[in-house]
Symmetry: C2
Subunit: 118 residues, 2 copies
Amino acid sequence: MTLPHPTADQISLPIVLAVLGDPTRLAIVRYLASKEGVPLNCSKFLDLASKTNLSYHLAKLREAGVTRSEAVGTSRLITLRRDDLDRRFPGLLDSVIAAAGGDKDLPAVGTAEVEVSA
Amino acid sequence: MTLPHPTADQISLPIVLAVLGDPTRLAIVRYLASKEGVPLNCSKFLDLASKTNLSYHLAKLREAGVTRSEAVGTSRLITLRRDDLDRRFPGLLDSVIAAAGGDKDLPAVGTAEVEVSA
DNA sequence: TCCTTAGTTCAAAAGTTATTGAACAATTGG
DNA sequence: CCAATTGTTCAATAACTTTTGAACTAAGGA
């Protein structure tokens, strides 16, 4: 965990909701949820936005406490902060993901995902 | 129901999330949820924002499909669209309201609420 | 070392949302 | 009819957010 992340109790509901209210970020979260446990790098999301713009949206998600970004080599491995979100806002993430379409209807994103043992 | 409302299937998740991502609107929704079944008029929310600004936020909530506003005399009776939201996004509203603090910690708003038989 | 890959930072531009006050409309009570 | 109450609309402004491209850093491989 290299980049600045809020602690679990610093995660704010309005900020999380506002951050998830953007379609690009919601798509990122859906995709992360569909591959839960598998850290993904930014390149997985390049069909959702440009590289620069992705950097912006991924920073928003991280700063809101929705995702965790770990620097590994030149990559960032991105995961959902499910445990923290579930503890803080029980049921919220699941209902958002289910409402967003669950597993079906995912954008054709991410062939060749990065798997990491931990 | 006088003012324009989206139909249940027109309610969009990102729009609902973005609308709930504003602290003033989230406070309005919390308050509506705490008085569920009791239509409230705008004056109940005057400690959250100015009259003009409330009109703006209440319009946002209505246009997003989160609330229903019925014109009765010179008042608007405002209710949560819980049934439509629950059908469309099961569990979402409840988890948001619970995360926002549930029944405790409500702003000191609305003495003398407007009750209506229906 | 040099090149490539992965992602960030910066500044500018564009777009959107929130807030304000003044003026307005509609209903209700006297 | 007149005044008060309730809420809307409008235009202006302020404040944010999103998007962009160019320049950058840092790590890894040849």
